[in-house]
Amino acid sequence: MLGPIDYSMWFADFLVEIVCVVCLLKKRAFTKHFTIVIYVCSSIAVGVGRYSIMATSGFTSFSYYYFYFYSDALLTICLYFVLMNLYAHVFSEMGVSKLVRGGAMLLLAGTAGISYHMVAMSSDRLVTHFVIELSQNLYFVGVVLTYLLWGAMTKLRENRTHLMQLVLSTGVYFSMFAGSYALDNMYPNTVVWRYVFHLMAMWLPVSWTYTFCKVPEDARMPTARVLVPNR
């Protein structure tokens, strides 16, 4: 059963996401960062959906279990689009947005295919396993893609503070989730995970809110100061 800590974390999660959307709309970032708004709105909708299913069917029910993992996979795919949007911003001057979009779709389909193949090879072949496998693999692909993007940004001497902080916070998020999924595989059924996942889920809306509210849109920062600070 869920205790007061779970409920308060759930509420805090919901609150930071609402604040993030309000901040994004207030800063008129809707068109420029459309995918971020879509992701945060989807996350709010998923939170409400999870809560209502948990209230009707219970935290340990199969309905909640299925909904949790399917919605998580959908959110990961949304976040994947956020990452593609960041790629498009970084490479905007090169005019390769179509290529980036095509590549992203191919990678997404490839990840889904590999995940399906991994589940089809296993003995129980549960559909739920596919979605968990897909989530895990997408998080890891997300880590690799963010790392490549950050590498490209340092090579291109990207100096937009906004973009740097968005990419780095997305990288932190993907790495945290990929790492915790891997740890969960090694030590399954650990109770602490449900608190850790809630805390980690707050990272993106909190860091995005900070970036959009406190960092001016036209702020610039030499990449070298991030790589080798205090110079």
Binding site: V19, M176, A182, M221, P229
Partner: protein
């Protein structure tokens, strides 16, 4: 085996992203000039804030109502500061240059905390002024 590999890679990338993210916050705060009132309240003189002032600045931040949006960053930088402390304990004695680098990083964290405190003080002053004008 694959889980261990994924965990290892994710942990290393997490460290790199997190450290770079904290560096970006610190570098961004360097552009901010502390106000005279902020300096006076936080007890900062000059442009350099010593690393050992970080804890005191955090305590001052905790008693100052927040304008919203920076509490997560305060926590992130506190975590980075703690991480630096751990690195100093583990490796600081091996190479004195490491200790110097850690101190400059801690000083950056302290400057960021001073900037956050300054922003909060400015926000509260504006709120107070508004309240005073509404009462009149």
């Amino acid at each position: 085996m694959i889980a261990i590999l994924i965990f290892g890679i994710s942990f290393l990338t997490l460290l790199q992203f997190f450290v770079s993210y904290c560096h970006s916050l610190i570098a961004e705060s360097r552009a901010y000039e502390l106000s005279e009132q902020g300096r006076e309240i936080s007890g900062v003189t000059g442009r350099i804030v010593r690393g050992d002032q970080f804890r005191r600045l955090l305590q001052l931040i905790a008693v100052c109502p927040e304008p919203g949006g920076d509490s997560g960053q305060v926590r992130a930088v506190s975590l980075y500061f703690g991480l630096l402390g751990l690195v100093r304990v583990l490796f600081g004695w091996i190479e004195p240059a490491v200790a110097g680098w850690i101190e400059s990083e801690r000083s950056g964290c302290a400057y960021l905390a001073a900037v956050m405190l300054d922003r909060r003080i400015a926000y509260n002053r504006v709120l107070m002024a508004r309240q005073m004008s509404a009462q009149l």
